[in-house]
Amino acid sequence: RDSSVNVVQLLLARLDNGVVWLHSDGPEKKYEIRRAKNDGKELTKEEKQRLRKEKKQQKKQKDEKGTSERAKEKKHVAPSQPVATQPPTQKAHTVLPASAPIPVPASGAPSHSSPAPSPADKPAKSRAELKAERRARQEADRASKQQSCSSSSKTKAPPSELNPVVKRLPEHVQVDDPAVVKRLAKKLERQQIPLRSDYGYKVSLFSHLHQYSRKAPLTQQLSIPSTVIHPSIVRLGLQYSQGIVVGSNARSVALLHAFKQVIRDYTTPPNEELARDLVNKLKPYISFLNQCRPLSASMGNAIKYIKKEISNIPSQFKEEEAKTKLLTCIDRYINENVVLAAKAISKYAIEKISDGDVILVYGCSSLVNHILCEAYDKSRKFRVIIVDSRPRLEGREALRRLVKQGISCTYVLISALSYVLPEVSKVFLGAHALLANGYVMSRVGTSQIALVARTFNVPVLVCCETYKFCERVQTDSFVSNELDDPDDLMVTRKGKTQLENWHDVSSLGLLNLVYDVTPPDFVDLVITDLGMIPCTSVPVVLRVKNLDHSMPVWMLERGFRHKVSPCLILHAMLHRL
């Protein structure tokens, strides 16, 4: 709080009668500023009373003068222009002292209208009055900051991450709450992104989630070329919504590559700092992608990382330097968390695969496919049973990849699970995210496989990189999920489509879920890049990871930086634990 007060002070000093203050005696100014710092302690009783009166009057004026303030602001901006050439974003601050209403002592008003008051004015004002003036301006500043909308860029106070953050339900899981929907619509309008409308009847249990149709992509409502959204982001959004890029890892990597392109094409506008402006540029892109398809947990973590990296760029970096640094950061993130993690996980997993094994896999997990190919290259003898499910039929992709490698495969649908399980020795599953309470969030059907495997006493191993660990807590699949296009459930056999007119049947709802959660008691082992942990140790890893991320804030201010990879630190910490 102290630091934010300082910053405001400095700005006000600069903008408002800047000429006067700067030309004033040095010690005088320093004294003023020092006193401003100790403001709270040195106010005498009379000053406090006056301040209270001023505050009351301010409040009254605030209520009365809704729009007339704006008129006053416009009036006052004109005379104060010769004082300093203000960049548009700092207009708010020139405006604010101007809009500080009449109760600011008369000494304030003449100083506004006359751009260069004679130095003789200054000694006339008593120190107490000046202090009171300053105090009143601060109050007005704060009051109108609360009033005005967030479109003006605020001075960034250093993030106080050590304070508890109030967590609210994300907006995409409150679709049946009209207030939330309105807020979302307003936010999107501000960012100039079209709002995607829901499609079809939603089953009541899931009415709090969005349900979109694949035939109505968001890009149809955009003007081409879009000035707000970078073309690589538009392309990415389309790839997500049409199901061209699927899979947790694929989506995150595609996102990071698109962001790299955005950074390459970015130029800092004049009088802006790259650290702040770039983060603000990314916000509408993220809203757009969220509208195309709800963000996955891995994408969320990647975005957090990028935002942190961008805001930690020191201001003395030139633009080119900053950009190359960001690009290398992103490359390093992908390399560490996806490529090297896959190698580490394969190494651990191959220990668990013995000759003669019959391994069951579900759907298409890039990580599990990688593990199986590596194991085959290391001459392990095993065969694979691929279980698939409608409507996505992702198992066919896995089948293609494994057969190409030369692995002997069997392919069944999930309804034949009880038939194949007696001959299976292990089950390998991929994960979309691992939740903080140890539940595994994965493609719908995974929990069914884990359940039936448990009944047949077949061990279930989940493979997941640590960057997919997420802080959410969920015990069922209803709270937060994704509803896919319900028309996918229609199947045409022998020229007849049974569910063709499902819209007309009022009592029928089609539900096409994408994810489900598996309880930790069905999972025997989780293989991560940090090692093989039981499912219940996930919160431990998360805790250690979080500590690692929140530390750099105050450490940075003292010039420390973690130059070592976070994964190695975690590994070391876990060993110590």
Partner: protein, 264 residues
């Protein structure tokens, strides 16, 4: 020679029925529900009773047993057919035990009883609601939404277990995990005195082109694809079979069929 004509006509009908059964099982012919199958079988058996030449109960039973063996061999997975045959044999025994009169009287009585059986059957079929449930994501819905799970089945086995459509075992396991009662609705003609021990006759497979179409290309030659039709559901997972506990099934079985007829 009207007798000879009738005989050839009867033989023709039996052959037609057998051919139908064989075709129906492979999936290319018209799919028939179990109820229809049961009705057709009963009509055929009635015809046999009416038109075949027999002089005593034993003769009739021998004829029906012989035909029954041929019919069940044509399509082993259609247990309904075998069940109807066993039922008719039981009826004949009952009739024999209850009356001591001559052949013709017996014949009429048997006809009566078979007619009654057919009617009984149609009533049962109409009143039974056989429901099928889709189960790709059913597991977690049970946690909150459902109070009961009601399923149908192809056969109810002698130990109270089921031979049901693929995927029913997963549904049953999910129901048990979430402590939701599992109720099976099945008409009487689906009760079969078989046990699930016969591994090779239990399962039936259909062409996997539904699972992996021929358009998948070259990988078809390198891949095994299985498409089983049935699932075994053990009796521990079932709460109720049409009003009775699974452990009560053996009692019902003894009312419907005679132990000697278990093996045709």
């Amino acid at each position: 020679m009207p007798g000879a004509d009738k005989e050839t006509e009867l033989k023709g009908r039996i052959e037609d029925f057998l051919a139908d059964l064989k075709r129906g099982g492979s999936g290319t012919g018209a799919l028939r529900g179990s109820g229809e199958m049961a009705r057709e079988t009963t009509y055929l058996l009635r015809r046999i009773t009416a038109q075949a030449r027999w002089s005593s109960a034993g003769d009739l039973m021998e004829i029906i047993r012989h035909e029954g063996r041929r019919i069940t061999a044509a399509q082993p997975s259609e247990t309904t057919v075998g069940n109807m045959v066993r039922r008719v044999l039981k009826i004949i025994r009952e009739e024999y035990a209850s009356t001591a009169s001559g052949t013709s009287a017996k014949q009429n009585m048997v006809d009566h009883v078979i007619d009654g059986l057919v009617e009984d059957l149609s009533v049962q079929i109409k009143s039974n609601q056989i429901l099928f449930v889709t189960y790709t994501w059913l597991g977690h819905e049970m946690a909150t939404g459902l109070s009961k799970v009601i399923i149908g089945t192809q056969t109810v086995l002698a130990n109270g277990g089921l031979r049901a459509v693929n995927g029913t075992h997963s549904v049953a396991l999910a129901a048990r995990h979430h402590s939701t009662p599992l109720i099976v609705c099945a008409p009487m003609f689906k009760l079969s005195p078989q046990f699930p021990n016969e591994e090779d006759t239990f399962h039936k497979f259909v062409s996997p082109h539904e699972v992996l179409p021929f358009t998948a290309g070259e990988i078809l030659s390198k891949v095994n694809v299985h498409c089983p039709v049935f699932d075994y559901v053990p009796p521990e997972l079932i709460s109720n079979i049409g009003g009775n506990a699974p452990s009560y099934i053996y009692r019902l079985m003894s009312e419907l069929y005679h132990p000697e007829d278990h093996k045709l």
